[in-house]
């Protein structure tokens, strides 16, 4: 899957007639594009989303399927979707037993998707579904993953501000120059998603993880539609987004070498602590006075302890990687040619 373990030239010579026959057969029957659409309480819009997707994808011309993933909606969404699916065999439905979020929806959808190309478009983002084939056309130009850049944006100022801050940070740390990485609307090859590990809420980081694996990532403008946007009621969600930035830095730079990350800060703290205590030690030995009442003593000891703890955690991380992650590869092979 990930690696093409064959010589393209030789294989082409050997299987030339066969190959042509195969690709002809595939054209007519097999699904080429799978659209995965997580939905939540959108009973009123289900039909519109469906028709928008159908008209645009029929225009694009590749055989497609639409997989709706109902993230345990509490309204009539599931019923409406069933009505649609009964009329159209290209529509598949999945329903989560309880709300698991978009990453889980993507993983579940991917399991049931048959196409080589995957479009992931959460209904909540409200991009213009009729414009999704633009992402596919961009892929045709030779990109492995295309992120939708929501512009002009219609949702609230606060959402936009957080999003801007997030993208700015990502740009600083991953050198990926994109405007809207966290749009949650992407088009990509199945291979890309199978080659990266995502879990929790990491689906918004898929472009970063893919770029890190060497895939060609780009973006395409898609307008956002008006409507009722969900705005977080909780500050905690925005704090979580800030913590996600740390996740990005860690995942892209240090996940395979924890001691390079923790050791750096650990060393600084340890050295600072040792210097402080050596100073106090000299102070006492040379008879300048007592040190028991000096707060510096406490600070020095504290820094020393924190520093050594960081290094220890880093070492435990290295042990985990050494003993548990043997099968994980740090490289991604594009092709192998020759014997």
């Amino acid at each position: 899957m990930a690696t093409e373990l064959q010589n393209p030239i030789r294989d082409a010579d050997l299987f030339a007639p066969d190959d042509g026959h195969q690709s002809n057969g595939r054209m007519s029957a097999e699904v080429q594009v799978s659209v995965i659409v997580p939905v939540f309480n959108i009973a009123g819009e289900a039909a519109v989303i469906y028709t928008d997707l159908c008209t645009s994808l029929e225009n694009y011309g590749q055989a497609f399927e639409i997989i709706f993933i109902d993230d345990a909606s509490t309204d009539a969404t599931w019923k409406r979707l069933n009505e649609i699916a009964q009329k159209d065999p290209r529509v598949k439905l999945l329903r989560m037993r309880s709300s698991f979020g978009e990453t889980a929806a993507l993983q579940a959808g991917l399991q049931h998707a048959q196409g080589e190309r995957i479009i992931f478009a959460a209904a909540r983002v409200r991009v213009n579904m009729r414009a999704l084939p633009k992402l596919l056309r961009k892929m045709d130009e030779g990109h492995d993953l295309v992120v939708a850049w929501r512009t002009p944006r219609q949702d609230s100022g606060l959402n936009r501000l957080v999003s801007h801050a997030f993208n700015w940070m990502v740009e600083r740390f991953s050198h990926l120059r994109l405007h809207d990485i966290n749009s949650s609307v992407i088009a990509t090859q199945r291979e890309v998603l199978e080659n990266i590990v995502f879990y929790g809420n990491l689906n918004i980081f898929i472009p970063i993880l893919a770029a890190r694996k060497g895939y060609r990532v780009t973006e395409e403008k898609i307008e956002q539609q008006n409507g009722a946007f969900r705005q977080s009621k909780y500050v905690s969600e925005y704090i979580q987004r800030l913590l996600d930035i740390i996740t990005v830095i860690y995942l892209t730079r240090y996940s395979k070498k924890p001691l390079h990350f923790l050791g750096f800060f650990g060393m600084i703290f340890t050295v600072a602590g040792v210097v402080m205590n050596l100073y106090l030690f000299g102070y006492r030995i040379l008879g300048f006075g007592g040190i028991a009442g000096r707060p510096l003593l406490l600070l020095g000891a504290l820094l020393l302890v924190i520093g050594l703890q960081m290094i220890s955690i880093g070492l435990i991380g290295e042990m985990i990687i050494y003993t548990h992650a043997r099968e994980q590869k740090e490289y991604n092979i594009e092709t192998v040619v020759g014997a």
């Binding site: 895939y215 290094i311 070492l315 435990i316 042990m319 043997r326 092979i333 040619v337 020759g338 014997a339």
Partner: protein
């Protein structure tokens, strides 16, 4: 296909390259000449670590005419450790030889290092006794680093950084190469119990292209050394490592407690001093207990990991 070839290939040669368009043709010619002269079956695996120049095109072109050459192209630059790991995984030979893609190693040495292995080594490392590099920026740091590596890992090599090394195939599939650990493959192999030898090899000046070395990696090297040291000594008993820290901090805590009690009973300290000393005592004891807990966690990490009883060993039976 791969299975059938497995037994036949005597020696796999693994060469990571990156942006070496002037060198690859010469490299391929030099290696091919040496190997044909030697007469053993071989495969040449070149890993293109995300070159941005014509390196891959040239290699692809060569591979059409040479059935012994396999080219692995990375999607982007993943670093030398990853390139080596990929090469090792692709290799099928009974012996695996690695060398640099910049022609500074001499392919003539390939048969020599492999023959040296017959003396009973699992790894034979090259030693560039007459190094043809700039003295101040390459040789001096290398000397210091090698001494440090020898001291911490207790792998007795003069020149760990030499890319020309020969491995027994079994060893190559056993070591876990990650991060930037390619510098320390012999030490990593020691973790698994390999026997390591050394052989003086030729070294040439770089003809084309630029060196990819830079000095700023010192910090990472030190961190990797620390990791290796712990892996080598404590992988099977991490509690002994963290237990040392526990004893150290609890000892300090105890000393602090003694000073506190003594001063208190003698009315030696004023209240401020008592407060500071008391906090210090608590802090040190807390730290000591923390390290003990780290040790316990590390123990379960190691014991749930892959089977540790698969170390390299020789198996012999006597009699019938």
């Amino acid at each position: 296909m791969a299975k059938a070839d497995q037994k036949e290939i005597f020696c796999s040669i693994v060469v990571p390259v990156m942006n070496e368009e002037e060198n690859v043709r010469l490299l391929h010619e030099a290696i091919t000449r040496v190997m044909l002269e030697w007469g053993r079956s071989y495969e040449l695996i070149i890993i293109d670590d995300g070159s941005t120049d014509r390196t891959f095109d040239i290699l692809h072109e060569i591979s059409r005419h040479d059935p012994c050459l396999r080219v692995v192209k990375f999607r982007c630059n993943f670093g030398q450790s990853a390139a080596m790991a990929a090469g090792f995984e692709q290799s099928r030979g009974e012996y695996v030889v690695t060398l640099d893609g910049d022609l500074q190693n001499d392919p003539v040495d390939i048969p020599r290092v492999v023959e040296k292995m017959q003396e009973g080594y699992d790894i034979v490392s090259g030693w560039r006794k007459n190094r043809k590099d700039k003295f101040l920026i390459r040789k001096v740091p290398s000397k210091i680093a090698n001494r440090l590596i020898r001291k911490t890992t207790r792998v007795d090599l003069h020149d760990t950084g030499c890319s020309l090394k020969a491995y027994r195939g079994e060893v190559v599939h056993k070591i876990r190469l990650y991060g930037e650990m390619h510098r320390f493959i012999p030490a990593l192999a020691r973790v698994e119990g390999a026997r390591i030898g050394e052989l003086v090899v030729n070294h040439h000046e770089r003809k084309f292209g630029k060196s990819k070395y830079n000095l700023s990696r010192t910090f990472k090297v030190i961190m990797d050394l620390m990791t290796l040291n712990v892996l080598l000594k404590y992988l099977t008993r991490p509690l002994h490592f963290f237990g040392g820290l526990t004893v150290f901090f609890n000892g300090l805590g105890f000393a602090s407690l003694m000073a506190l009690t003594w001063g208190w009973s003698q009315n030696h300290y004023v209240e401020d001093e008592l407060n500071v000393l008391m906090s210090l005592t608590f802090l040190l004891f807390a730290a000591g207990i923390n390290f003990l807990l780290y040790g316990l966690i590390a123990n379960s990490v190691v014991s749930t990991g892959e089977k540790r009883d698969e170390r390299l060993y020789e198996f012999k039976t006597y009699g019938n």
